[in-house]
């Protein structure tokens, strides 16, 4: 065992021993108690395992980690309820209709319409599209099936069961266990004994090579999504009678527990995935049966999956530098100049001041506070622009870091609106960022993203709930008071927070244009290449994590001022995901994307509250999810086309149209490998490659933008070879 793993294992063991010592309920551990524990845990483990198996199958064959696995299961459970209960269709017809027809059809549809376009997209985009899907399915279900109505899911084989020890294992739960085992055997057979399974495993190892050897990656991909959705449907239908069928309840959120099982299996091994599911279920039931977690640890049981996920991730082997293969496609984003950013932000502050003035003309107006909330959100996600947008390190915990800043602000002077409290809030999150960067140094990509997700959940349930931080009923804070100025009023605070966002944005853009900013982008594009030219990957990651944490902590201080009153529920892990989603919709690599992320939520609420139409209500439910699906069409984010459309209107950006045309024609180097294989190889591409390699004579768009654009427009197309285009040998 490596030393780092040993340290993690020893630390975990010590922690478990401490928890056991402090919280042991005194319940006697005997054969009966252990038998009961297993009987309690096995059905849960079965559901986790089935759901996790779906995750693993899809991930291993397509590389996409599906956050919407639970929501798809929930949606399919509702479809089954609709057929079985509402339309009284017999189980033997309704069940195959859902599991073997509707769910696979959904999977194939998702694959064809969305997921294939996600291949080779940056991880954060892949993840956020599935988060968008999750919200879409939850919104759809809430729209179609009245959540105040009666949705009782019938159990299989009635209400009886078998006696095991003192417990009755119901037929439904026994069915769950049996189905989980049968599926394990069937999946094993499928993957190792069928041609399709061999193709699936081959595609996992090397998609291109598998295609050359006769596998059909597209078919495999479609089949995997169909299988994944069927497994989600089975898990959803099996657990539905236990859940009360709440759309936003455990029926959808089972996916968080499935993450743990899937990660134990390292997203590859189905047997280990099943072991992970069993371990988690036992841990959950054990905590309930044998531990007394009261007072400050009252909510700790809710964090159990996150804690386990975090520990397992820490025990994973260190990621190696990737040589000789091309990862995600990152188009080099346009970066505004510091001067342009400062100018734009000045306009933004003036606009907000004007809008605020208009809103306050007729008395107190809640939209002022909503706009301030939008700016606070923008400031929080701005912390992700250098970290995720430029350095490529995916963090799903911006709100948790902001939470630390907010708590620090409330503890150290926020009650009096002290400037020092803002400084301390910023400083305190820096070491926290450094601590969290430890897994970042060991983990990459998805594992890192999940580690931050687990961290956010632990912060929510274990850290922010400590009474010393926010008290049991929350903490009140005041807005900034400095040099005789009081920013308590909504209007003046809106101007303040907008100005703060503007200044921070200017700083972030300046950073991007600095050598450090270029190092971040180089590291994102290729850690191996960066390392070979002398970039210290370790140092760069730690610094960017600390920087991001500092910005988030700083933002947290302003979020606290905007909220006025803080409780642990302000910093829920699941509230952070839509923030990241909104940033990705806007554009994860630009400060304008962060602004978009903040304003996006405001617009949805404003529209709904201004025009009381049922259409808007549906839009509020479905809007974020559906918009997220649009990311696929424009991975750079919404601000790019918006900017392209409006920039020429600005007097100092008259050349924007020509510059945009040149940018659009650029090609990302990783795409070169696709030319002639999966897409036509055109003269346009040759021009683009020349530009990327620096061998074209019209590189400078300022020197000859129109000539360049004309050349690109007039470039002839060369037909790809038919066999290469089909991707078959």
């Amino acid at each position: 065992m490596k030393r780092s793993n040993l340290v993690v294992a020893l630390f975990t063991a010590a922690l478990v021993a401490l928890v056991l010592k402090e919280s042991w309920s005194g319940t006697r551990v005997d054969g009966t108690a252990i038998l009961n524990l297993l009987v309690f845990a096995l059905p849960l483990a079965g559901v986790y395992a089935i759901s996790a198996a779906g995750l693993v199958v899809v991930y291993t064959t397509t590389g996409i980690f599906n956050f919407s696995q639970g929501a798809i299961g929930m949606f399919m459970a509702y479809v089954y309820w609709e057929l079985r209960v509402h339309h009284n269709i017999p189980t033997l017809i309704a069940l195959p209709l859902v599991v073997l027809v509707a769910a696979p059809a959904l999977g194939v549809g998702l694959d064809r319409l969305l997921m294939r376009r996600l291949e080779r997209q940056p991880l954060v985009i892949q993840l956020m599209v599935t988060v968008g899907l999750m919200l879409t399915f939850m919104g759809l279900a809430a729209t179609i099936w009245d959540q105040n109505g009666i949705h009782v899911m019938p159990t299989f084989f009635g209400s009886g069961g078998v006696h095991i020890g003192q417990v009755i294992l119901t037929w439904q739960r026994l069915t769950t266990i049996v189905v989980a085992i049968v599926l394990a055997v069937a999946l094993r057979y499928l993957l190792f004994r069928t041609r399709l399974g061999v193709s699936m495993r081959a595609v996992v190892d090397n998609r291109e090579l598998a295609a050359l050897a006769g596998a059909r990656p597209d078919l495999v991909s479609g089949f995997s999504w169909a299988l994944g959705c069927s497994l989600a449907a089975i898990a959803g239908i099996l657990i539905a009678p236990d859940t009360g069928m709440a759309v936003a309840g455990s029926l959808s959120l089972i996916v968080i527990n499935a993450f743990v099982a899937a990660i134990v299996g390292r997203l590859r091994s189905l047997p280990l995935t099943y072991v992970g599911a069993l371990l988690l279920a036992v841990a959950i039931q054990f905590s309930q049966q044998f531990l007394t977690l009261g007072q400050r640890w009252a909510q700790a049981p809710l964090a159990l999956p996150a804690i386990m996920l975090f520990v397992v991730l820490l025990l994973l082997p260190q990621a190696k530098l990737q040589f000789g293969r091309i990862g995600a496609v990152h188009r080099i984003e346009r970066v505004s100049s510091v001067r342009d950013t400062a100018l734009g932000m000045s306009v933004l502050v003036a606009v907000m001041a004007g809008v605020g003035w208009l809103l306050t003309r007729s008395g107190p107006n809640p939209n002022l506070n909503r706009l301030a909330a939008a700016m606070a959100a923008a400031l929080i996600v701005l912390s992700l622009v250098p970290l995720t947008g430029w350095a490529g390190q995916v963090s799903l915990a911006p709100l948790a870091f902001a939470g630390f800043g907010a708590v620090a602000y409330s503890k150290w002077g926020g009650a009096h609106g002290s400037l020092l409290a803002i400084v301390l809030a910023t400083l305190i999150t820096i070491p926290i960022g450094a601590i969290i960067s430890i897994p970042a140094l060991r983990l990459q990509g998805l594992y890192l993203a999940l580690a931050t997700l687990a961290f956010a959940s632990m912060a929510e349930y274990v850290i922010f709930t400590q009474p010393e931080l926010l008290g049991s009923q929350g903490a009140h804070v005041e807005r900034l008071k400095i040099f005789g100025l009081n920013f308590a009023g909504d209007h003046v605070f809106l101007v303040l927070i907008t100005a703060v966002f503007g200044l921070t944005s200017v700083g972030v853009v300046a950073l991007r244009r600095s050598p450090f900013g270029r190092r971040l982008v180089a590291m994102r594009d290729s850690e191996a290449a960066s390392a070979t030219i002398g970039v210290s990957i370790l140092e760069t990651k730690v610094v960017v994590f600390m920087l991001s944490a500092a910005i988030a902590g700083f933002a947290g201080a302003f979020l606290a001022q905007q909220l006025g009153s803080l409780t642990s529920s302000n910093f829920q892990m699941l509230l952070g995901l839509p923030l990241v989603l909104a940033l990705v919709i806007g554009g994860v690599a630009s400060v304008a994307g962060a602004l978009f992320a903040g304003v996006f939520g405001f617009i949805l609420i404003y529209v709904k509250d201004t025009w009381h139409l049922s259409l808007w209500r549906s839009l509020e439910i479905l809007g974020p999810g559906l918009t997220a699906l649009g990311i696929i069409k424009n991975p750079s984010g919404a601000v790019v086309p918006i900017g392209d459309a409006f920039a020429p209107l600005l007097p100092w950006r008259k050349d924007a149209k020509a510059r945009a045309a040149v940018e659009k024609a650029r090609i990302a180097l990783p795409e070169v490998g696709e030319l002639g294989l999966t897409r036509p190889f055109t003269a346009t591409d040759i021009v683009a490659i020349e530009r990327e390699l620096g061998v074209a004579d019209d590189l400078n768009p300022h020197r000859a933008p129109l000539v360049n654009a004309d050349r690109l427009r007039n470039a002839p197309t060369v037909a790809p070879s038919s066999e290469a285009a089909l991707g078959t040998p």
Binding site: N36, F40, D242, T243, A298, G363, P364, G471, H476, S565
Partner: protein, 459 residues
């Protein structure tokens, strides 16, 4: 989703309400008078003016803030909105209030503290009063308290609430619940607090079901506020003589199988008493699991107001048979026994317990306004006058629809009605007579002092 915390929170809040009430016998200017009669204000020959924010010569605007539009739990407290609208329709159909029509503005707080704050800001600008407030996460009353009236004075906007979750609302000088919370004020939000818990049902159970009840208490542990409200009530119940065999903590979104260890504890302790502080869906899952595991020995499946929900019996069927629930308002099954209840049921097409309390809040407002008009005329309606008037109300009962409540004193009542699920329907068991409450149980209010979070010891 921790947004799912609302599930358990809703329950615990309902518990808090049910655990508290008002029974002050002090005199008051309204004297608990029935307000369901036709408006008697005579404005003939008087020119009505816009005397306050939200008051025009022809209308009075009120705002109801409730969590109804949370995207994933739409309609959670729609009952409160419907209840205020039903009262407005009823009042307008009977000549309005102070010769003006009532206009209801609805503000959706979306299970979000910030949206609750925004709703208050909007109401401050256009409404005279907040009626039927049911915002679970309303944890900042500074905006409401600093709200300026038409004269520019920060009198605050009166808040006649249905649910008061947070101490800041419970203890605010401008906030009054039609069925008050029993927590002492002022309270900083942490540490020891005194609670006046409504526990007359315990005496009744001991006398009529079993004198030596003992069993299991289940605390929803999603939020500190859910733990607080449950542990304070459970401690009071223990103090009144129900022995605790074990206490469990569970999430409001736990699955039915999550209740299996709890049900095993019920069996192993041969519990005769079981109470879950979660919302009715938590009790529902627990009852279903108990049925699956063959639990038969429980004599009292206890629940306060939260189980008295339309869907509880519809979803639970035979598995919730025997469930008790104690109320501080008349059950809908009493229709025909009380004019206020009949008016509520006439104007509210989807009645629930929150709606009934919201309707009562409307009646309280109407009663206070009519008292102001009677004293100073129809142009004397101001927020300040309203607050002054409300602070004299020590025995309000919404025409007998709710228990007699010391609104101003924020003190609970010892009166209740106990209902039980029998043959798939809620049936009164105490008192049996429709339209009445039982105020006879000794020790109906149990006073306890504790730090609720420290009192929580699951396992």
């Amino acid at each position: 989703m921790k947004r799912t915390g609302w599930l358990a929170l809703a329950v615990a809040l309902s518990l808090t309400i049910a655990a508290c009430g008002g029974s002050g016998k002090g005199g008051d200017s309204l004297g608990g008078a029935t307000t369901t009669t036709k408006s008697g204000t005579d404005c003939t020959g008087k020119t009505l003016t816009a005397s306050e924010v939200g008051v025009s010569p022809t209308t009075i605007t009120v705002t109801v803030i409730a969590d109804v539009g949370s995207p994933l739990s739409p309609g959670l407290f729609q009952g409160s909105m419907d209840g205020v609208k039903a009262w407005a329709a009823y009042a307008n159909a009977n000549g309005g209030v102070a010769c003006r029509k009532i206009v209801v503005k609805q503000a959706d707080s979306k299970l979000n503290a910030d949206e609750a704050k925004n709703a208050i800001t909007a109401a401050c600008a256009d409404s005279t009063v907040l009626l039927g407030t049911t915002a679970l996460f309303l944890n900042d009353m500074r905006g409401a308290e600093a709200c300026k009236d038409k004269a520019g004075v920060a009198t605050g906007i009166p808040d006649l609430a249905v649910l008061q979750t947070e101490p800041v609302e419970q203890c605010s000088a401008i906030s009054f619940a039609v069925i008050p919370n029993g927590g002492s004020c002022p309270y900083s939000g942490k540490g020891v607090r005194t609670f006046h818990a409504v526990t007359p049902a315990i005496e009744w159970f001991k006398k009529n079901v079993s004198p030596d009840l003992h069993g299991i208490f289940v605390v929803p542990n999603d939020l500190p506020s859910t733990i607080t409200s449950s542990t304070s009530l459970f401690t009071a119940i223990e103090q009144d003589g129900v022995k605790q065999d074990a206490e469990f903590g569970i999430s409001g979104i736990a699955t039915q199988s999550g209740y299996t260890p709890i049900v095993q504890a019920i069996k192993s302790h041969s519990a005769t008493w079981v109470m879950n502080g979660a919302d009715f869906s938590g009790t529902l899952k627990m009852r279903k699991e108990a049925a699956v595991q063959g639990v038969t020995g429980v004599k009292v499946w206890a629940c306060s107001l939260q189980c008295y929900a339309p869907n509880f019996i519809k979803q639970g069927g035979a598995q919730v048979e025997g469930q008790y629930s104690w109320l501080q308002l008349l059950p809908f099954e009493d229709k025909g026994s009380n004019p206020s209840l009949d008016a509520f049921l006439k104007y509210d097409t989807a009645p629930d317990a929150f709606g009934e309390q919201a309707f009562s809040a409307g009646l309280l407002f109407q009663q206070a306004i009519e008292a102001i008009v009677a004293k100073s005329g129809p142009n004397a309606i101001t927020r300040s006058a309203l607050l002054t008037q409300i602070r004299t109300v020590h025995a309000f009962d919404a025409g007998g629809m709710i228990v007699k409540t010391d609104v101003a004193g924020k003190t609970p009542s010892n009166c209740i009605a106990i209902v039980q699920v029998k043959s798939g329907a809620w049936v009164r068991v105490d008192p049996v007579k429709k339209g009445t409450f039982d105020c006879t149980e000794p020790g109906g209010i149990t006073t306890i002092t504790l730090d609720p979070l420290k009192a929580y010891h699951p396992g």
